[in-house]
Symmetry: C2
Subunit: 342 residues, 2 copies
DNA sequence: ATGAAAGCGCTAACAG
DNA sequence: CTGTTAGCGCTTTCAT
């Protein structure tokens, strides 16, 4: 393998110095047109490829941003990442990806790894296990932009892009009430993540606002998965005054609920079911699943925008904004009880 | 922002030199236990975090591998990436992600970007547009590992991890024949990607082997998407001797086919439908979709293994292996014609 | 077992 | 408009 060409090779070839070459290549204005063209021509001919590592080491800017998500396999996060990349692409920033797999240990390792890689900033959505945020503080201490999206844990004082999860819980519940359901259950996670607490509050307040009673046995704390959905539905259906509608913590859990109900013959919309996140499959299952649209594309776009603003400032944290997106209900068959009346 | 601690700070603190600190920190054997412990203690106390960029610049190894996929939003690729990360994690390698979005222009830019970031190797699945592979040759020229997975274009002489796509086409067709379907259509892409050609060959050979005739009007070349599936199904159903089964280029296309057939009342399995890739939704749509399992987890794991082997060698390309995984049929309702007989 | 010193490829302040 | 020079933080050869 022959040695790679550097700006020294180009300089030697043209009998000029590396600084001139460096300037010519980086679009420095005070360079004669002739020199610039000559440099570009030789760079091309020698198949020059800049070493961004060296550049990053010297300039202190790597043009890499780290992204930490629980899992890339949830379409919600894949979509966010897709849109972060999209929003960043004209700025020259690239992404290093890290999956926490819902483990705080991995998340800590992720932050450490990304910091060692000298990323210029980090965007993260917290794992379900995350109850302590000290590992994120190192990023702030280094004065690098940290943006938390979707899964916010507690009072971490950085910009956040979140959904109005209280509202999400509220409108999901309200939608079911409007459809005519009277006894609405709620399956959520045992973990202390703010968004899930908020949804639960929204649920409770919507019930209250409509003169309904909050029954503790209608609220199930478990994990969120297809399996947990089946289990939760089974448990709820064994209650003496079993619910006529179920709000599930995410679409996967809702899918489990539906599968269980399909088996027991109480196929939705007989029992209403609504999920969260509008996963790829949700429109296509039977019955199709009503859900809450969480606008991952906007979240990704906002993350990118926010990052570019922060990184341009002397102090990224001098004007901390918290963007809150408003969720909407996606009405599908699983809550369309009217369809049964015909 | 206070300056970050470097090995110089540690050295000064202890009255030793940076070389000793560097050795102590990197597990060099010929270091006294006392020194090593002292270094570790001070590193901890000063909150030292190594600058991997500097290390990479000097040593020529960045411990980053670039991954290029068409889109992270297809579960197939998300799963591969997940498993690459998993397979690499103990080795200290991290991933920089790049999405080509099925555009060769993006793919070229991706290779360039990753090379400039001094990745130690690249794993890529080609875009549908990719008909020229010269941009990949630069990676080989730099003697860095290049591994192509799933989407292989033509005779590129690097290690590959692929599915036996001929076999995939063959068993998909054979499955339909065994189920009793007699007139089987095929929707595929217009693009010149090897895997799609291979599947088509498998389809044709399976028909021949079973004494069936290959009808050109039963083969549709279009794009692959839900929309194209609807369109393709519509076109096929207008043929005079319309098919009684359709093989769709991927599960999204198959979904479009099913939606169209559901509307026209020829709901599968009346018309048999099978897809490729076993997407997240395929088990949950109605009717559930028979498909070909393409084992993304194994592909990802194999990529990681292969990379680690290559990177450990003087010449990564001295023993080029091509791993071929065998697909299997996932039988679900959309091809279960027996169910209609009861 | 440890130190001295060179240098990876690039940028940027200063000088001219 | 261009050259000189120092140095980013680390690894590594050669000494001792």
């Amino acid at each position: 393998m022959k040695k790679k060409t550097t700006i020294y090779d180009i300089a030697k070839e043209l009998g000029i110095t590396v600084s001139t070459v460096s300037r010519a290549l980086s679009g420095f204005p005070a360079i004669s047109k002739a020199t610039r063209q000559a440099v570009e021509e030789v760079a091309e001919r020698l198949n020059y490829s800049p070493n961004k590592l060296a550049s990053a080491l010297k300039s202190g800017k790597s043009f890499i941003v780290g992204v930490i998500v629980p899992s890339i396999e949830a379409h919600f996060f894949a979509s966010i990442i897709h849109n972060i990349e999209e929003g960043l692409k004209d700025s020259g920033y690239r992404i290093i990806l890290f999956q926490s797999k819902e483990s705080i240990e991995n998340e800590i390792k992720g932050v450490k790894t990304l910091l060692e890689a000298q990323v210029d900033g980090i965007m993260a959505s917290m794992s379900l296990e995350t109850n302590d945020i000290s590992h994120f503080e190192e990023i702030i201490k280094q004065n690098k932009p940290l943006i938390i999206f979707d899964r916010v844990n507690q009072e971490i004082n950085v910009p956040t892009i979140t959904l109005n999860d209280y509202q999400a819980g509220y409108i999901a519940t309200e939608h079911l009430i409007k459809q005519g359901y009277k006894n609405i259950a709620f399956i959520t996670t045992i973990h202390q993540i703010k968004i899930f607490k908020d949804r639960l509050e929204g649920y409770k307040d919507a019930l209250k606002a409509n003169g309904m009673i909050i029954q503790e046995r209608n609220i199930i704390f478990s994990d969120l998965s297809i399996k947990d959905g089946r289990y939760g539905a089974g448990r709820l259906m064994r209650n003496k005054d079993k619910p006529d509608a179920i709000i599930a913590g995410d679409d996967f859990t809702a899918l489990g609920v539906i599968k269980k109900l399909n088996e027991t013959g109480e196929t939705p919309p007989k029992i209403g079911v609504i999920g969260f996140a509008n996963e790829a499959f949700s429109a296509y299952i039977t019955p199709s699943l009503s859900t809450i649209n969480q606008y991952p594309a906007q979240i990704g776009t906002s993350c990118a925008e926010m990052f570019l603003q922060m990184v341009a400032k002397q102090n990224p944290y001098d004007d901390i904004r918290n963007i809150i997106l408003e969720p909407t209900v996606v009405e599908r068959q699983s809550t369309n009880i009217d369809a049964l009346k015909h």
